[in-house]
Symmetry: C2
Subunit: 203 residues, 2 copies
DNA sequence: GACGGCATTGGACCCAAGGTCAATTACAAC
DNA sequence: GTTGTAATTGACCTTGGGTCCAATGCCGTC
């Protein structure tokens, strides 16, 4: 699906640092997209492209946390690595609690940065994988008729056709038909597979 | 199971702080167990009692991370809240990455401490709940004969009895018997329930 | 050697799941 | 009014799942 190589989104208001870090990362083989402000990053980056963000928390205007919140509220789960020149412990804790991959102090140590980026890219990859599966299941669920949707829930709950019929106020034969069509639309052949699909969607 | 009220394990080498914090927590209605060293805590605390630990990272001898590692290697997932008088950002990041609930700076703010403790107790509760379920499932799995165990795997995978029979080199009738006994031992009546149990055990 | 647990199998039987063929009803859109 | 989709139901048949009773062979323990 997304086999484009991952992008590192660099956000720092200090142009010298931006240039230096970009050079470092490019020389290590990464694709880099630099931004001088949170606003630039948020409006210009492609949220569907794989990759991670390396962000200075102390930005003028919207700061690093603003980026984190903005991405979160848009359901963009892009992993973030923070950098700071003058951060304190409460700030660090807040960032990590909010899901930051790492919180690095300037001057940034190259080895730490690379390690954090690798971890962030892996997290991004995993997240994308899960989101993809989830979207697939939700797409299939959306193709169900209301009745089929109800039957889906009952089957996942382990109910027998006759029990489902009683619950939905109809007869077993009707349920069998709905159930058959539902299984086909969900692209599964066994109840075991269906339960696993349901688990992907719900959790 | 564990309806004893949760215990707060306090670990700090400074006796004055230990006393002050204990007083604060007791007055807030918590049960508190103070220790002056990591070693004392590790040898004397009850790992099966619900609760969380509030630990000074800068302990003489084994430090706070030592506690974290020791608990981890013993598979005791007790949530830890760290305190520090002179910590830095890398230390904070390390602690949070290792799963600390919070990382507080001394002097500890009461409101922050209470918030962290509530979060830690909730995490402990959730962890215990999951561990309990998991142990229950593993116990049931352990009661299966080797053959039943194999059939379990195939059923969860969604295979038909005849397919299972072919895979295990026997006939459908035999599988039916194993399958029936397996379902009874696992205390489930439907495949849907069985798949959910399997999910609890594997993840 | 007797005993118990385990794996295996056969036969009879019942219930559940799913498919075929056919038909009816309701509602919304064109 | 016609068309399409969704929901519904019936009779009939096949396959799959599950249970009861009964029996056999293997293996390790007492």
């Amino acid at each position: 699906m997304n086999n484009t190589s991952p992008m590192i989104y660099l956000v720092d208001d200090d142009e010298r640092i931006l240039i230096a870090l970009k050079r470092l990362l490019v020389s290590a083989g990464y694709h880099v997209q630099p931004y001088q402000s949170a606003e630039d990053f948020l409006t210009m980056h492609d949220p569907d492209a794989p990759g991670c963000a390396v962000v200075d928390v102390d930005l003028p205007g919207m700061d690093g946390f603003g980026i984190q919140d903005a991405l979160w509220s848009r359901h963009h789960a892009r992993p973030i690595i923070f950098m700071t020149g003058c951060g304190d412990i409460p700030t660090t804790v807040r960032a990590m609690k909010a899901g930051a991959v790492d919180f690095l102090t300037k001057p940034v140590d190259a080895a730490s940065l690379f390690a954090a980026i690798e971890q962030a890219l892996k997290r991004d990859q995993d997240g994308r994988q899960k989101a993809l599966q989830r979207r697939l299941v939700e797409q299939r669920l959306a193709s169900l008729t209301p009745r089929e949707r109800e039957v889906f829930g009952c089957v996942v709950a382990g109910q027998l056709n006759k029990q489902i019929a009683a619950e939905l106020g109809t007869v077993e034969k009707t349920i069998k038909v709905h159930r058959g069509r539902m299984m086909e639309k969900m692209c599964v052949r066994t109840v075991a597979d269906l339960v696993r699909l349901a688990a992907v969607a719900e959790v």
